[in-house]
């Protein structure tokens, strides 16, 4: 037990000290912040796809709702950023419930289709509802969040702001997973028929998963808007939904660490891909294809497999349990 606590303290210390290393390099800090935002967004997708087994190719839609709502509320209505972000996440959640009502009945390709449609409709709205969203010109001068005297207007400050939020959200995710609610969601993923028979209201839990998922991704969107200070429809296309999915699959889904790894690896990786400019999506697409065909369970399980070969007598389950439960 003490060893585990020590690990947490070390990790926490590292995370707190990290930005000091890059004190001059604002760009790298920005990268870290973006990475953390993606961690939140992808953890959200994980709750839906990894844990309840419902595919979504429209999560960019929730991301967009979060971003635009928070931006508009804080600019046009002067609502304090922290509240506008929460409200935006809440709105994304409401839309999720709306879309989940029909979507809960659908599977696989049809679910994919309805989520794609959702994402596309959000994109089209955001791109064309000019009086409200400024259309393709985007919304700029999005204010930074503030808490009392603290204004998080530099990348370094935003980093710490995000660190707290990510920690809380991940803590919540972990608690949900290991609870009665989480188990019910997982049961729905594993076997709908049996879940129904064992007292789980499948439809409600499917909708709940959608709602939770959208809250995370919506909040991530809002955090994104206030970090960058400028948003435009281009960031919220189907490509973005695919990027989320690729990150999730790369890291491993239905797993606490998977989204973290996937999001961070790909965010940092993208930096080096900047040189490729427009070919980024080619890399994402090929990566997704390779992952799906060769390592569908993601990196986290690839690593586990190797550990396993070293430790001959340990059962796979113990490792999987550690990572999954």
């Amino acid at each position: 037990m003490l060893q585990k606590k020590m690990k947490y303290i070390i990790v926490a210390a590292l995370l707190l000290a990290l930005p000091l290393v890059f004190i001059g390099n604002s760009y790298f800090l920005l990268l870290l912040c973006t990475g953390m935002i993606y961690v939140i967004a992808v953890s959200g997708l994980d709750l839906l796809f990894g844990y309840s087994g419902q595919i979504s190719l429209g999560h960019a839609g929730f991301f967009a709702i979060g971003a635009y709502t928070s931006a508009i509320l804080s600019i046009k209505l002067g609502i304090p950023v922290v509240f506008s972000m929460l409200f935006a996440a809440g709105l994304a959640t409401m839309f999720a419930v709306l879309i989940a009502l029909p979507a809960a009945r659908l599977v696989h390709h049809f679910l994919a289709l309805i989520t794609i449609s959702f994402g596309e409709i959000v994109y089209l709205f955001v791109a064309h509802a000019d009086p409200l969203t400024n259309g393709f010109s985007g919304i700029g001068f999005i204010p930074s969040p503030s808490l009392g005297f603290l204004v998080f207007d530099t990348n370094m400050k935003y980093y710490y702001f995000l660190l707290v939020i990510v920690a809380v959200l991940l803590l919540f995710k972990n608690r949900i997973i290991r609870s009665r609610t989480g188990r019910a969601i997982i049961a729905v993923r594993e076997n709908i028929y049996a879940s129904d028979g064992i007292g789980i209201n499948v439809k409600n839990y499917k909708i709940l998963s959608f709602a939770l998922s959208a809250f995370y991704t919506g909040l991530a969107g809002a955090l994104y808007a206030h970090l960058i200070g400028f948003i435009s429809p281009e960031s919220f296309t189907l490509n973005q939904s695919i990027i989320f999915l690729t990150m999730l699959l790369l890291g491993g889904m239905g797993n606490f660490y998977g989204p973290i790894i996937g999001a961070l690896v790909l965010t940092l990786g993208t930096e080096y891909l900047q040189v490729l400019g427009n070919y980024q999506m080619l890399v994402y697409g090929s990566l997704l294809l390779l992952i799906v065909v060769f390592i569908p369970s993601g990196l986290i399980n690839v690593v586990n497999l190797r550990d396993l070969k070293k430790i001959l007598h340990k059962r796979t389950t113990v490792k999987e349990n550690d990572a999954n439960a």
Partner: protein
């Protein structure tokens, strides 16, 4: 006219589904690929029209077979969760699009005029002859396909393999071959569609994506897996879109199409013809 294009695509989707119980999101990008291929042959290699189209069809067919043999087959053998197969096709469509970008660049290309005459007057509407050709070719393709699937021996064995692969195998039907032929055909259909649309709207990278999605929608509306439903569904979408564009605004035509799709998914996921589809749990 756009309806007939969607029709070709939708039929491709239905084909694949009825043949293998799988869904493929690649049709849109295959259309784009076909258009580019056609462009290359017709414009740059200056080959005669018929040869261009023939070559395009042939190559697209090969592409379809390739996809099936290497990627799909591997996943099916590994008994991958259906959703991963869907994801694979989505990933494929992205790869295709970006690969095309690598080869041809991201500009809009003009397809040279096929017909030397200008617009043709039908009644008092000016119609572009290439549109007419598109409709005609699409129609012919559908007829040929219908004939092939129903009257020829191979076509029938394809349908048999789709309904019950195990039984088909015992009847000495080479299921493996019918499967890759199906994918090849679907791909070729997309290629034709691309070739037809090229002259009318120009050729560029994004041309396939929307059409692919709408074609998918059409297939769903008509009843997934049902070829005739696919055709009807596409005409419905084509008409809805054209009307919306004409009377409301062309921006909303996409939104409306998606809304129609969502409506169908909610109310009648089996489509108009109530096809047997694993839509619900």
């Amino acid at each position: 006219m756009i309806g007939s294009i969607y029709g070709l695509i939708a039929m491709g989707y239905s084909l694949i589904y009825s043949a293998s119980g799988l869904l493929s999101f690649t049709q849109g990008e295959l259309l784009m690929f076909g258009a580019f291929l056609g462009l290359t042959f017709y414009k740059y290699a200056n080959l005669p029209f018929v040869i261009s189209i023939a070559l395009t069809i042939a190559i697209m067919f090969m592409v379809g077979v390739f996809i099936e043999s290497f990627i799909i087959r591997k996943l099916v053998k590994a008994k991958a969760n259906l959703i991963f197969i869907v994801l694979a096709t989505i990933a494929l469509s992205i790869v295709l699009k970006n690969f095309a970008m690598l080869v041809w660049g991201s500009n809009v290309f003009q397809f040279p005029q096929i017909f030397k005459t200008g617009f043709v007057k039908i009644g008092d509407v000016n119609v572009d002859p290439t549109s007419i050709m598109a409709i005609v070719v699409a129609f012919i393709a559908m007829l040929i396909l219908h004939f092939f699937m129903n009257k020829t021996r191979f076509g029938t064995s394809m349908r048999a393999a789709a309904q019950n692969p195990l039984a088909a195998k015992t009847m000495a039907i080479n299921v493996s071959r019918t499967t890759y032929v199906t994918w090849g055909l679907a791909s070729a259909l997309a290629g034709i569609a691309g070739f037809l649309i090229g002259p009318v709207y120009g050729v560029h990278l994004e041309m396939g994506t929307m059409i692919g999605l709408k074609g998918f929608a059409a297939a769903v509306i008509g009843g997934y897996g049902n070829m005739y439903g696919a055709i009807i569904g596409s005409f419905i979408i084509g008409i809805v879109e054209t009307f919306t564009a004409a009377y409301i605004s062309s921006i909303y035509k996409d939104v409306i199409s998606f809304l129609v799709l969502i409506a169908f998914l909610i109310l009648k996921p089996r489509g108009i013809f109530n096809s047997k589809v694993y839509d619900e749990e």
